[in-house]
């Protein structure tokens, strides 16, 4: 795999993009893009020969011919968009259509003064010096080929900057809409979230699809949480049913910073989520929650790496998956405790519910501990619906199908309940109850 042909195709696209528009971009950005394409060209797409990609084969993505472009782009109404993205009409939001900022669908009216929320293109145009120091600073484009690919094609996306001490009461929604009928699109959404010291924000990133045909969305988000800041990041992926989605979430937490990051995967045919959280400051804390619902022939891979770099940092991770049909779920959860990270506390749990005989899950927890005074635990389960619970429900008058539906929903709701944004939580609960009507 990772054929030269594939790399050539992306390289051609890169050259075309460079000749068209990169001249308008600041030099630092062009250098970053060049570094991205150089890295991608040498790395290629990851193959299952790499340990971290053992269970996920990106061949369908590598083979994806995105040069065919004769599509019709549907108009999406604001109401449909909001409903697909589980968003409030009044929400502060930036909307992107196939990677390009769509001001007519966005709303910054309620954005408090002093808080920076711009499309990346706007920010680049303004040749923001702050941007040049932060963009690409943490996402590891030299090691990760998908990040490299995204970096090579940085064009648009979102930039949220919350100044020190500011508390954003309302969540900020970033909605990435991709896909068009008859068009094999590739998009590379890029998000940068910067939380100044002692600031607070809730961010919802939604990825939604507009077509039942294939397209490839390769997203990268960098989140920097400075000292004592407080962040909740919700990532909801609801791409089209034939979509390929790869998403990298890279977070750096300073001293005493707290991040809760939810990764909810509801759709897509081939999905890989990479979450990498680095607890770089003493006493930093992260809570990672994940939920993945797979059916049909969906393949959903969640790979998370949490690095405890400094002492007294804590991480709590709960990922749950429900797989039906012939769906394939993968969970790779790695926790690295560095030499200096004494008194680290790391707990990881992965639970999987299989609703059919053909559904498969591979779960692989990994602890890599280089300090001696730490608390680390991990556990994973794979099982069917508990027959005791099923009988309990039926003994109360609930029919077999309804009991299965409620128990599956409850399994998922346990994760959803941890989302603090009430409107999103409620909509997800409803969506999940409805979804399991089909089982």
């Amino acid at each position: 795999m990772a054929s030269t042909e594939t790399q050539e195709r992306y390289l051609d696209a890169f050259r075309e993009r460079r000749s068209r528009g990169n001249a308008k971009s600041p030099a630092w950005l062009n250098e970053l893009r060049e570094a991205g394409i150089a890295s991608f060209t040498s790395l290629g797409f990851p193959t299952p020969k790499i340990e971290e990609w053992k269970y996920t084969n990106l061949e369908p993505i590598a083979a994806f011919d995105f040069s065919r472009r004769a599509g019709t782009r549907k108009k999406i109404s604001q109401a449909d968009l909001l409903s697909e993205a589980f968003a409030d009409a009044s929400a502060i939001r930036l909307v992107f259509l196939n990677g390009v900022y769509a001001p007519e669908l966005s709303s910054r009216d309620r954005l408090p003064e002093g808080v920076g929320l711009q499309s990346l293109a706007e920010s680049i145009k303004g040749d923001d010096e702050f941007l040049s120091t932060q963009l690409g600073r943490y996402a590891r484009y030299r090691q990760q080929s998908l990040v490299a690919l995204n970096t090579a094609f940085i064009g648009d996306g979102a930039v949220l900057v919350v100044p020190p001490g500011r508390r954003l009461a309302e969540p900020v929604q970033l909605i990435y809409v991709s896909g068009a009928d008859g068009e094999q699109l590739v998009t590379h959404p890029r998000t940068l979230i910067f939380l100044g010291a002692g600031s607070e924000a809730k961010i919802i990133e939604s990825y939604i699809g507009m077509t039942r045909e294939s397209y490839f969305c390769n997203a990268v988000t960098e989140l920097i949480a400075e000292r004592d800041s407080l962040a909740e990041h919700c990532r909801v992926q609801r791409e089209g049913e034939a979509a390929f989605h790869t998403g990298t979430f890279e977070a750096k937490l300073g001293r005493g910073a707290h991040l809760t990051a939810h990764a909810v995967t509801l759709a897509g045919s081939l999905v890989r989520n990479d979450v990498h959280v680095s607890l770089e400051g003493e006493g930093a804390e992260c809570i990672l929650n994940g939920l993945y619902l797979g059916a049909g022939r969906q393949h959903i891979d969640n790979s998370t790496v949490i690095e405890h770099v400094k002492p007294r940092a804590r991480s709590f991770e709960l990922y749950k998956g429900i797989l039906n049909g012939a769906a394939h779920g993968v969970f790779n959860g790695k926790i690295v405790v560095h030499k200096d990270a004494q008194k680290s506390d790391a707990r990881q749990v992965n639970k999987n519910l299989l609703l059919s005989d053909d559904a498969v899950v591979n779960t692989k927890p990994q602890l890599e501990i280089h300090a001696d005074d730490v608390k680390c635990s991990h556990g994973s389960t794979i099982g069917q619906i508990d027959p005791d619970a099923l009988f309990y429900f039926r003994s109360r008058g609930l029919g077999l199908a309804e009991a299965r539906r409620l128990l599956s929903s409850a399994f998922a709701a346990d994760v959803v309940a941890r989302i603090k944004v009430a409107s999103l939580r409620q909509r997800l609960d409803e969506y999940i109850l409805e979804k399991f009507r089909e089982i």
Partner: protein
């Protein structure tokens, strides 16, 4: 209301019930006692329709219908309720949500209109008083992290809401301290009604000090070997089960 005739059942090839005969009339409270392994819980689960018990003989007529032909949910909708010895913990679903879904399944079956969230909330609030249960508990995930007493109160709350015709209480006293036992027993007593029968399964006499049965049966080795009234309980308390064991082998 309930006629059990020659009921035999086995689990994993082991015969547990070896010919049970029991008649329960409307409004009656029957207690079933017996040593561990005598088949008490099996009887309750067979009546509720647990599928891993295989009925190998006999019949059960409930309100003129063949109970054993019904699946568990139909039995429940027909008014059979089993209070579990070990209620299952369900993270992700509150008691309120669960119980409304259950009640509405039964109401739908009976051709009644389903209760909306508001009406149901009013109902459950009122029934919670019966078991001195805090409303916060009903909003918490079903049984998750509940103490033994809270779980059993929750079972009785469910019974109070689902309003069964035949209630089976399986070791409802196990794991309860004396205060919780009193609360649970008071709840059960408040639910006694002329048109409702109860079968109270217990290992210990002490529950019967609070829930006084009309009849008491001793189950031993899969058969009822002695039946009597509440006085029998006192005799069992005094003499244990051994003096009855000779009767177990009698035809």
């Amino acid at each position: 209301m309930l006629d059990i005739r020659g009921l035999r059942a086995k689990v994993a090839d082991k015969e547990i019930l070896r010919g049970i005969d029991l008649h329960v009339g409307a409004g009656e409270v029957h207690a079933i006692m017996g040593p561990n392994g005598s088949g008490k819980s099996t009887l309750a689960h067979v009546l509720a329709g647990r599928e891993n018990y295989q009925v190998t003989g006999g019949e059960v007529i409930y309100q003129g219908k063949d109970l054993l032909a019904m699946n568990p949910e139909t039995r429940a909708r027909e008014g059979v309720f089993l209070a579990f010895q070990y209620p299952v913990e369900i993270p992700g679903m509150s008691t309120v949500y669960f119980l409304r879904a259950a009640l509405n399944a039964a109401r739908k079956y009976r051709g009644l209109e389903e209760l909306d969230a508001m009406d149901f909330l009013a109902l459950i609030k009122e029934r919670m008083k019966l078991v001195e249960m805090d409303q916060a508990l009903a909003n918490r995930p079903l049984n998750e992290g509940f103490s033994g007493g809270e779980k059993k109160r929750n079972e009785i709350l469910q019974m109070a809401v689902l309003d069964p015709t035949l209630a089976l209480l399986d070791e409802t006293d196990s794991g309860l301290d004396i205060d919780a036992l009193r609360v649970v027993a008071n709840g059960v007593n408040a639910l006694r009604r002329p048109d409702r029968a109860m079968i109270v399964i217990t290992h210990y006499q002490r529950l019967l000090n609070y829930i006084v049965p009309d009849f008491l049966h001793v189950l031993f080795d899969g058969r009822i070997i002695k039946s009597g009234t509440k006085e029998l309980a006192l005799e069992l308390e005094r003499r244990g089960y051994d003096w009855l064991k000779g009767e177990a082998t009698a035809p």
